[in-house]
Amino acid sequence: MRLIAGLDEPTGGDIEVFGKSVNGQPPHRRNIGLVFQSLAIFPHMSVHKNVAFGLRMKGVERRTIDQKVEEVLDLVHLPAAEYGARMPSQLSGGQLQRVALARTLATEPSLVLFDEPMAALDRRLRDYMAVELRSIQKSLNVAAVYVTHDQETASAMSDRIVIMEAGKVVQVGTPEEVYERPGNRFVATFLGDMNFLEAGSVGVWSDGSRTVHIADGSLVVADEISGRREGGSVMVRPEHVELMTLEPNGPGLSGRISETQFSSGFYRSRICLSDGQEVLTRSTENTAVVCGVGAKIWLKIKQGRARMLRS
């Protein structure tokens, strides 16, 4: 982020923005906006002056500045008439957030960078701001790079997610792609709960789908399994496991309910398979509660939702 903005110099390699190398260009010539984690609102300037700062630095005429400031403040729902004269110390966290955004957008940057600016907000406000930020970004049609550790913000806001682990890119794709088809264990667990089941052996059914034997049952995985006949891990998201009181037709697993829990609209249960492996499930159905802890239950994986872990 700091490298893209020009605040730090890369020790090697090249940074291209829209196909043009920006190496060696000082930050104030790049026209790249950056919304800081700390927001970095100038404490000695009013809201209006904060937002006007970038335009003033570019030598824009006063009348045009006032107009533009009013425009962007409207965009972030902080009407200039009410908030323009306020000092940063008189604003709430969410409002400061909006000022930071307005200040960055005022200069019409070709690219906007967000360095986890919502990390300090409480969850509800963060979700709300995420939606709003996304709609503003879409309406202005400006390219944006958003860095976050919060996978929900990431999924909710982006067209494309780049997942990095220890400084290296591990997967790139749409939010659905990386959620449904994570490339490795890190990506899978980063984006939410994931069951990893150790497979016994792999068989091939007549219709060409792949069946994996786990404990005393089996399930069908969506991927091609080339050259591997035994072992490996299968990934299933908890919401893709269906609980059934009767043995299903076709492939399925069975186990005993070891724990159930209700929270925010979902029943979460933990099922212990015959070989001791545990499966987390998440469902709007109260099947597990009705059966009770200790009862035997069958698991069916929704079609195409189980995948082999490649590495």
Binding site: P26, L34, F36, S38, A40, P43, H44, M57, T107
Partner: protein, 279 residues
């Protein structure tokens, strides 16, 4: 029994501490109070307490200051000299101290800790008499007549650490991302400094200037080594007068100096409270 003893001991301790505090306060304030009291005396002799109160010595000082013909006492000239020296010293310390403090806080160069310690403490613990002798030697060896500036330079040496202490403290309180934000918004490094850093350390700079001004205005030791007939600070004038003609007028002048000092402190404190300066 034990409890009683400990309470008794605590009571004794509190009494002793109270007595010591009052004693020290008295020790600090008594000479000043005496100077103030003596300045209102009605007689030419140094009697304490003054037999009668009057403003005759203030009138005397006023005539010394306002009378253009009165070359001999040179009070007005001395006052102006001290004022110019203090103002110039403040300016020098401000211009040198702010960038130096900024460099110390923002840049991590080799040995910056040592430089910081040296700059901030050595001029304070270094004996001014020694510094005075050294400067006198340098001035006389070089044969340069820098006029008023030789005292300005001397005062700047002892004033700079006071300036820098305040600026460094103020700079430490500033989030470095503010400057970076300014840069990404199109400000060059220099503009980011003048638009963001300078306004935010205004409090530190003002209290630094205040301290240096008062320090220089009252300074005696270095001035004593470096004054000349043409550059004759107020502190030297007072010293000279007290040695030659010990008239109560010098108490009036001293009282006025105290009033000036207090006024400067009050004005600056009012404008940029200590809270703001610390930020």
């Amino acid at each position: 029994m034990d409890e009683n003893t400990s309470i008794g001991r605590a009571g004794v301790e509190a009494t002793v501490i109270k007595a010591l505090t009052w004693f020290l306060l008295l020790l600090l304030l008594l000479p000043i109070a005496m100077v103030l009291a003596m300045s209102f005396t009605s007689v030419t002799t140094l009697q304490f307490p003054p037999p009668e109160l009057s403003l005759r010595w203030y009138a005397d000082v006023w005539s010394m200051v306002s009378d253009e013909q009165n070359d001999f006492t040179r009070l007005r000239e001395s006052f102006e000299t001290s004022f110019v020296i203090a103002a110039a010293t403040s300016l020098v310390c401000l211009v040198a101290g702010v960038p130096a403090s900024y460099a110390l806080v923002r840049f991590r160069f080799l040995g910056h800790r040592v430089v910081e310690e040296l700059l901030l403490s050595v001029p304070i613990i270094f004996p001014t008499v020694v510094l005075g002798v050294a400067l006198l030697v340098i001035v006389s060896m070089s044969g340069l007549d820098l006029g008023i500036f030789q005292i300005v330079v001397a005062h700047s040496i002892i004033g700079l650490p006071f300036m820098m202490r305040n600026c460094v403290a103020a700079l430490h309180g500033i989030d470095p991302s503010l400057q970076e934000a300014a840069k990404t918004l199109g400000a060059s490094s220099i503009r980011a400094f003048t638009e963001i850093i300078l306004p935010l350390i205004r409090g530190g700079m003002s209290s630094g200037v205040l301290l240096v001004f008062i320090l220089s205005f009252n300074e005696f030791t270095l001035s004593y080594f470096l004054y000349t007939i043409d550059v004759f600070p107020l502190s030297i004038w007072l010293f000279q007068q007290s040695n030659t003609s010990f008239s109560p007028a010098i108490f009036a002048v001293s009282s006025l100096m105290i009033v000036i000092n207090i006024a400067v402190i009050l004005i600056v404190d009012k404008a940029f409270g200590t809270q703001k300066a610390a930020r």
